[in-house]
Subunit: 431 residues, 2 copies
């Protein structure tokens, strides 16, 4: 049986999963494909540590060049993560006529323009299903399954760590730090969780989703990103009482001829499917012109889940190589109705607001007066417990307001001497 | 720009949608593909009626042969539905060297073996994304996106009509007939709704899903099918009170070396995502060995939604034709761990049971005595309102029981003179 040779760069968590699948499911995959996927070489800087698998020592190397320069290797799988030297490895592989599979969202988000252009120029493909939503086939669905659709919006819970923390807070009444601690114990958060909890990982994934839906490879710097580290348990609970759930959403949506691309904690209606996405699960909700509102849901992380996506990419590439001719990835088409990216100052949103105010007469009048001055109207007010001489939380849901006006109003309100701490504002989305 | 010619057989609701997309998105698709998809001919028995689109009269024909025998037509799209002459058209098209796109679940469910074998023999493909879940890319996801996975189970809400009716009953406290009437008014149910409400359409779709997940093309006769027409509003409400939702589920699941394939109303926990799937929406929940638990959700019907799937299939085929070589669909691999299909008598399930009994002492003792005789134990009992001298509903949730035993027990219970009408049993699924 004919063999297609694969070189694997990065023998960590996911790399190990890929090797396991290709070994344990060799026959199964060969039956589906009519040929064999063979691991020709595995590169890692650590080829000494014991791993949970037996591999032929001769397959292992510390030199990526042994893979990239091997003319018998048809496909290079990059799973080392980070920008350098992953970028250089991919460039070299493409230049040597190999197609590439990667799970590296940070790299593609940052350097995608150069890498995708090089792949197109060399008539090779870069596949990256594992980079968003692990085993959920969202990339393939957007690129191929929904190929005829134009998109109005995409709303994703794409970071398992953040979603785990928010779910724990909401379901078990835990404070942020306690929930983060549990995520670390369970292995769902890294020692330094910044990338996940500050929304940066979500932003990387959003860049790829936006590229697939709107044909634009947005710069990291063009995305407004706010994480979940300042979300308090009380806001989660107040929101819940009013029928809303707080989720870290990655949002890309079109409004007239502008595109909004942003990541931030968001109040969504409890009745919406996205509200039911708990723990490390991910879900991507898409609004399309033909196929309507769709949701793709599944575990957003995990060794075998991510490896499942890597192998799916491999199988796609192998089929092309088997056919003997290059079958290029579908071109990404720029949505020309989009004239510019909307700045966060210019978005319009409903807001959840919490003020900590002195419990004295006239507080509401002052706050609503300032909001009114900026043209912001209040949909509902909820003044919580009253303890004499202490500050009380005043929770409001606002009608649509411009972000810039909202910020100015809050700044002014926060300068009032009846306001005891920095006020909280969280955007809302009806989805 | 190079053109790929498509012949369309069936210019009804979905066919019209396909023509609209290929016309309105000609440039968009050409940019993605690097070539043009051209409608060479459209066949329908009615080429006179006004349709909501302007097409060149010369494209229209009443003769399918004009498409099938045209050597310039590369792909035939079959959208007439039904078994004959759709089957003959597809066979002829494959024999003439054309690949086929169809939305015809009834045909593939019934005649798939012959058609898929012929396609493989002729090195052509039959694509059928629109046949399940309309625009939801579930077929592609199971076949390609999850290619490395083995499946434990698949649970689908795949009939929009039934789900609309059950949602209406549950949300608006409507009786079955009233809900069905509304479905008809809204155009969500056909004049004769049998295929939809009796679970037959769901069974057809389940056959295709089972084929993709387990490699087996099960016969229609091998599937246990029960529709929703005997679901009463009171059962929906009693179930709801206890935290369950009744949905028409299409289920294929492995247990040891047997496969269960069945369609029936099912109580599922309210907290499960499938419970939140309302109205004409569809959702397919999959349990896989690598990618874990996944859900695919979207509108299960609709002209443009189904047409979106047809065009996605077309684009896939066009890419292959463009590459100049046949790129066969991945082979379906039989899950050899499955030794046989389990008969409905032999399944084990939890059950929701409702008895209408005389309101007199000793009723519960008699019922539970009989259940006990068949080794069936009760998880909870709920005796509803008590009106002297009238029958009262006794609702029970049972622990796992064998279907055969459950039926025997109910038969015996129904012969008691304290039982006033045929008892109700509905299977439960924890999913």
């Amino acid at each position: 049986m004919k063999k297609i040779n694969v070189g694997l760069i990065g023998f960590g968590h996911v790399g190990l999963g890929v090797v396991k699948i290709l070994r344990d499911k060799k026959t199964f995959l060969a039956q589906k494909l009519g040929l064999e996927i063979n691991i020709k070489k595995i590169c890692d800087k650590d080829i000494v540590s014991k791993r949970n698998i037996n591999v032929d020592r001769n397959l292992l190397t510390r030199e990526a060049k042994e893979i990239i320069n091997d003319p018998q290797v048809d496909i290079v799988v990059e799973l080392i993560g980070g920008i350098h030297p992953a970028k250089e490895f991919i460039i070299e592989a493409l230049k040597k006529g190999k197609s590439v599979v990667t799970a590296n969202k940070a790299l593609l988000a940052q350097e995608g323009k150069e890498l995708f252009a090089l792949a197109a120029d060399r008539q090779k493909s870069i596949y990256y299903e594992a980079s968003v939503g692990a085993g959920i086939p969202i990339i393939k669905s957007l690129r191929e399954g929904l190929v005829a659709n134009k998109f109005n919006g995409i709303f994703g819970i794409v970071n398992g760590t953040s979603n785990f923390i928010l779910s724990k807070m909401s379901d078990e009444n835990l404070a942020f730090n306690a929930a983060l601690k549990e995520a670390k114990i369970k292995g769902f958060a890294e020692k330094d969780p910044t990338l996940d909890i500050e929304g940066i990982d979500s932003a990387h994934k959003l860049i790829l989703l936006t590229y697939l839906c709107f044909g634009r490879l947005v710069n990291v710097g063009d995305i407004f990103v706010e994480g979940i580290s300042r979300i308090s348990l009380s806001d989660i609970n107040y929101a819940k009482e009013m029928g809303w759930q707080i989720k870290l959403l990655a949002i890309a949506k079109k409004d007239a001829d502008e595109l909004e691309v942003r990541v931030h904690p968001t109040l969504i209606p409890k009745s919406h499917l996205l509200s039911s996405v708990s723990g490390i699960f991910n879900a991507i909700y898409v609004s399309s012109d033909l196929a309507g509102q769709l949701l793709f849901y599944g575990p957003g992380a995990g060794q075998m889940s991510a490896a499942s996506a890597v192998v799916a990419d491999l199988v796609d590439l192998v089929q092309d190589i088997k056919a003997g001719l290059f079958r290029p990835t579908l071109n990404t088409v720029l949505d020309k109705s989009i004239k510019k990216l909307r700045k966060i100052d210019d978005i319009e949103s409903r807001y959840y607001i919490r003020f900590m105010a002195k419990d004295q007469p006239g507080v509401l009048a002052k706050i609503s007066g300032i909001l009114g001055k900026f043209g912001i109207s209040i949909a509902s007010v909820n003044q919580k417990e009253r303890h004499k001489a202490k500050e009380v939380p005043v929770v409001m849901i606002l009608h649509e307001a411009k972000e810039k006006n909202l910020r100015s109003a809050i700044e002014m309100i926060d300068r009032l001497n009846i306001i005891k701490e920095k006020s909280v504002a969280i955007r809302m989305e009806e989805v």
